[in-house]
């Protein structure tokens, strides 16, 4: 997902493809829910990269090329959106290749999964799934260079060795450069995967090293990068679109006479509304096409459009919050977890504690809004776009343009942030439709208002938690009711239940050392487009659960750290399927068990770093949270200072255990970024609806952190366990979920006020 990062889950990908295969909505939901169970009984169950659409490739001819001047070009097939994947994948390949870093270049693959393997850059899994294949691609290319040298010198392969961009013959001390060997090496067969020699990780020169400069540093600092919004083509026109202000709405009539008078405006084009489910279809509306972006924007302002708002015209966040609150009061929600006997245990408990939490809609708001250039003519379609899912984009373009897939080219630019928004290619389809209509290349730009008011929003949730404590204050019963519109609502007509992959994000896979646990999911309809947002359903689940654990500590007069560790329980390995999560981020439960030892370790790390237990001045406090997501273990400790109802954050300590480190500097930067995004979620960011319309239109009302509101100090602790032969965890997303609850817990310590509704906004002002 990601980013990063960003936020999408494997099952979600299954769902995208399932639709393409023409499954009915009913079977889609099943397929989304339980992919492994829908297989034939004797078929092997696949996990990880094997289970992704189009799997993985490790062919050096696909990923590595070497020119006769020795320049090595690594083709990166995952989208770069700030997580550093272009640098990290190049590091892996270059290391196994024994290449000199300054001789390595990167090129971006177009959307073509049959050639490159899965390209959906989401779910925090680029390195998790491609570290091994990319090592093999590099090692194979290195072996081919060695073989070419051995052939040239007529010596056995075992006597030659690649290092420092040359192949050396030990006996004679002859060397030959990669550039000289390239042509001969390329003609050789790719060595067998089985006999391939991988480097001893102790000899890695780039992997695991903290001082590698980003491959795009030079371009970024000189302004010569190309994002989707920057692409220019000969004869290109510029478009913006007026979309229905309410999801599900449509144009009744339009008067475009004034718009067409605006200097530079060339055409006004009407776009059809989507059918439901909307999936990745454009939203319809009226497009203005002009000779520059400014004229298009001015033309759009001059349109007079009568809209019909459709079925969601009354959507109001205030009313919906009440609806969700009512839903979690009853016990008729779908049963999603049931261990022990919660009813009996609650009845016998000495104390019962109940709390409800509200987590609002959010917009990903990548700094580069959605934008794409399309050139559709003579039976071909070529696009340049900032997409997280290039192959999905290609498939949807082929369908919409009624062209064979081979005639559709998706060039992937850099992404100015993604966070899940750019997993949905609706904006690319818009550009293509317009290009076809006007017979010229078209750049479609979303303004910030477009982005914030027509997003695929993070869902909105009410989480109700109830615990029964025994006489010693130990939690013996745990009842969790979760109500939120599902991402499934963009793929099927009106589903009202969260999908297993959403529940597996920090709810059904919570390692609670509590004997009686029950979870229920009351229904919740969707009234807008719901989509992945960095770390997805982990956001509400972690906020509610980590806040509630701190509330239990408070209720029993215990220390929150001690109480959190008690609820996590002793160090043990948990098979997620045994506690109710069949999904496990698409990974094998044997290779990727939940490891409470690791969760304890990261928690203890941040507690120690922040000086847990120390005396703080009045108005200051410390808060903790720990959360397992994207098969990584993360904990956060935050110090806050509340002055006149305003929250300042002097320091955040964050620890992640994501297995071995490929690019430690980028793990750190992802944690830093997650902390700052999490601060926004905790304190200021929220999308609210009224009359079906989002109420926030730009960064003056959708308040993301600025330097002065960001934490003064962020310390990242990389807690490593396992070597490079052990499974890697995700990085782009898992930093985010524990941030907001750690802040809420710190606010409680500082002020005695418990935040149960995000964002804090002005709740602390008297």
């Amino acid at each position: 997902m990601s980013n990063n990062p960003v936020a999408v889950a494997r099952i979600a990908n299954v769902s995208r493809r399932s639709i393409l295969l023409g499954l009915s909505a009913g079977s889609l939901v099943l397929a989304v829910g339980l992919p492994t169970l829908s297989r034939a009984q004797d078929a092997p169950v696949e996990f990880g990269a094997d289970a992704m659409p189009n799997g993985w490739r490790d062919d050096p001819n696909v990923f590595v090329s070497i020119a006769d001047d020795g320049i090595v070009t690594v083709t990166v097939h995952r989208s770069e959106m700030g997580q550093g994947v272009r640098t990290s994948i190049a590091m892996v390949v270059a290391d196994e290749l024994e290449a000199e870093w300054d001789m390595v270049r990167v090129t971006q693959a177009p959307g073509n999964e049959p050639r490159y393997g899965n390209q959906d850059t989401d779910g925090s899994r680029s390195l998790r799934h491609f570290f091994d294949p990319m090592r093999r691609a590099g090692a194979s290319a290195r072996t081919m260079l060695e073989q070419a040298a051995a052939d040239a010198w007529n010596v056995p392969l075992s006597e030659v060795r690649a290092e420092g961009h040359v192949v050396r013959h030990a006996g004679s001390d002859r060397t030959m450069s990669y550039g000289k060997l390239a042509t001969a090496a390329a003609a050789l067969p790719v060595p067998d995967r089985e006999g391939l020699r991988l480097k001893d990780p102790a000899t890695f020169r780039y992997v695991g090293k903290a001082d590698i400069g980003l491959v795009d540093n030079d371009d970024i600092t000189r302004g010569t990068t190309t994002y989707g919004i920057d692409v220019r083509r000969e004869g290109m026109l510029y478009a913006v679109i007026a979309r229905p202000p309410v999801f599900g709405g449509r144009v009744v009539s339009v008067d475009d006479s004034a718009a067409l008078q605006v200097a530079g405006v060339e055409r006004v084009v009407r776009l059809d509304p989507p059918t439901i489910p909307a999936e990745f279809q454009p939203l319809g509306g009226i497009a203005v096409i002009a000779r520059n972006t400014w004229a298009a924007i001015k033309g759009r302002e001059a349109l007079v459009i009568e809209w019909e708002d459709g079925p969601h015209a009354a959507y109001s966040s205030e009313d919906f919050e009440a609806e969700l609150e009512a839903a979690v009061q009853t016990d008729d929600g779908k049963l999603i977890l049931n261990r022990g006997d919660v009813g009996a245990a609650l009845a016998e408990a000495s104390t019962r504690i109940v709390a409800e939490y509200y987590i609002p809609h959010l917009a990903q708001a990548p700094m580069e809004p959605p934008a794409a250039v399309a050139d559709v003519h003579d039976g071909s379609c070529e696009v340049w776009a900032c997409v997280q899912a290039p192959q999905v984009t290609r498939l949807r373009l082929a369908q919409r343009m009624e062209l064979p897939e081979e005639d559709v080219t998706v060039n992937v630019t850099l992404l100015g942030g993604g966070f899940g928004r750019k997993s949905k290619p609706d904006f690319v389809l818009e550009a293509a439709i317009l290009s076809r209509e006007v017979g010229a290349p078209v750049k479609l730009t979303w303004t910030r208002e477009d982005d914030l008011q027509h997003s695929y929003y993070h869902t909105v949730s009410v989480e109700r938690l109830e615990a029964g404590l025994d006489a010693q204050g130990k939690a013996v019963a745990w009842l969790h009711r979760t109500a939120a519109p599902t991402i499934g609502s963009i793929f099927a007509p009106d589903p009202r239940q969260k999908l297993p992959f959403e529940l597996g994000m920090g709810l059904t896979n919570m390692p609670l050392d509590i004997p009686n646990v029950r979870a229920e999911n009351p229904q919740a309809p969707a009234h807008t487009r719901i989509g992945w947002y960095r770390s997805v359903s982990n956001i509400p689940h972690a906020f509610a659960i980590q806040s509630f654990i701190a509330e239990l500590a408070e209720a029993t007069g215990r220390d929150p750290l001690e109480y959190l560790l008690e609820v996590i329980g002793p160090a043990r390995l948990i098979d997620p399927s045994e506690i109710g999560d069949v999904w496990n981020y698409g990974e094998s439960p044997e290779r990727y068990p939940i490891d409470t030892g690791r969760l304890r370790k990261v928690t203890e790390t941040v507690a120690e770093a922040i000086g847990w237990g120390r005396q703080l001045p009045v108005g200051s406090g410390l808060g903790l949270a720990a959360h397992y997501s994207f098969v990584s273990h993360v904990a956060v400790a935050t110090e806050v200072e509340v002055v006149n109802g305003e929250v300042h954050i002097p320091r955040v300590e964050i620890a992640i255990d994501c297995g071995a480190h490929v690019n430690p500097d980028r793990i750190r930067s992802q944690m830093e970024g997650a902390v700052i995004m999490g601060v926004g979620q905790a304190l200021t960011t929220e999308i609210t609806f009224q009359d079906g319309r989002p109420q926030q239109g730009n960064f003056d009302s959708y308040l993301i952190p600025r330097m002065e509101t960001a934490p003064r100090e962020i310390n990242v602790h990389l807690v490593s366990s396992g070597g490079y032969d052990q499974p890697l965890g995700g990085v782009g997303e898992p930093g985010l979920p524990p941030i907001a609850p750690s802040i809420a817990n710190a606010i409680f310590a500082a002020t005695g006020t418990r935040i149960r509704r995000l964002p804090v906004a002005d709740q602390l002002r008297s």
């Binding site: 970024i220 400014w294 970024g673 003056d700």
Partner: protein, 152 residues
């Protein structure tokens, strides 16, 4: 007719005088290093130097730039070696990089114009520029490094 100098080159324009400099630079001159992020002076992605001062290009009509000198990220230095650019690379400040042209232009003006930079100066000035990826700690560190390099 509006005439202005952009990165040392003279240009003239007889289109809509209301057109923000941002779209003139990006669409008419093809200088896409200057970014669009909000269009309403809230994010700083479009920061350029107008007669040496850090300015939001998205709210600056081109008519205001008549007779002025505009510098964009592409023309900040010939070799990409302003102390701010160097520090940005040294510290791997960027994540997605999209906001960074604006950040660098803002920071360069700040470093060049303020001899004894304080943390407060940095916070106040740089809070005009948003970064959704959350690179603020590194931006702060890079500005300090650049300021030191300047005074050396």
């Amino acid at each position: 007719m509006i005439t202005l100098t952009v990165n040392g080159m003279e240009h003239s324009f007889d289109g809509d005088p209301e057109m923000p400099l941002l779209w003139y630079l990006r669409d008419e001159l093809g200088l896409t290093g200057t970014k669009f992020g909000c269009g309403i002076a809230q994010c700083g992605a479009c920061t350029i130097h107008l007669d040496g001062y850090a300015t939001f290009a998205c709210i600056t009509p081109i008519s205001i730039a008549d007779g002025s000198e505009v510098r964009t990220i592409e023309g900040l230095t010939e070799k990409g070696d302003h102390p701010v650019q160097v520090a940005w690379r040294d510290l791997n400040v960027s994540q997605c990089g999209y906001c960074q042209a604006g950040q660098i232009m803002q920071a360069a003006a700040l470093v060049d114009s303020t001899p004894d930079l304080t943390d407060e100066d940095i916070d106040t000035v740089m809070s005009a520029n948003l970064c959704r990826c959350g690179t603020y700690p590194r931006i702060r560190a890079a500005i300090k490094q650049a300021a030191e390099a300047r005074t050396e």
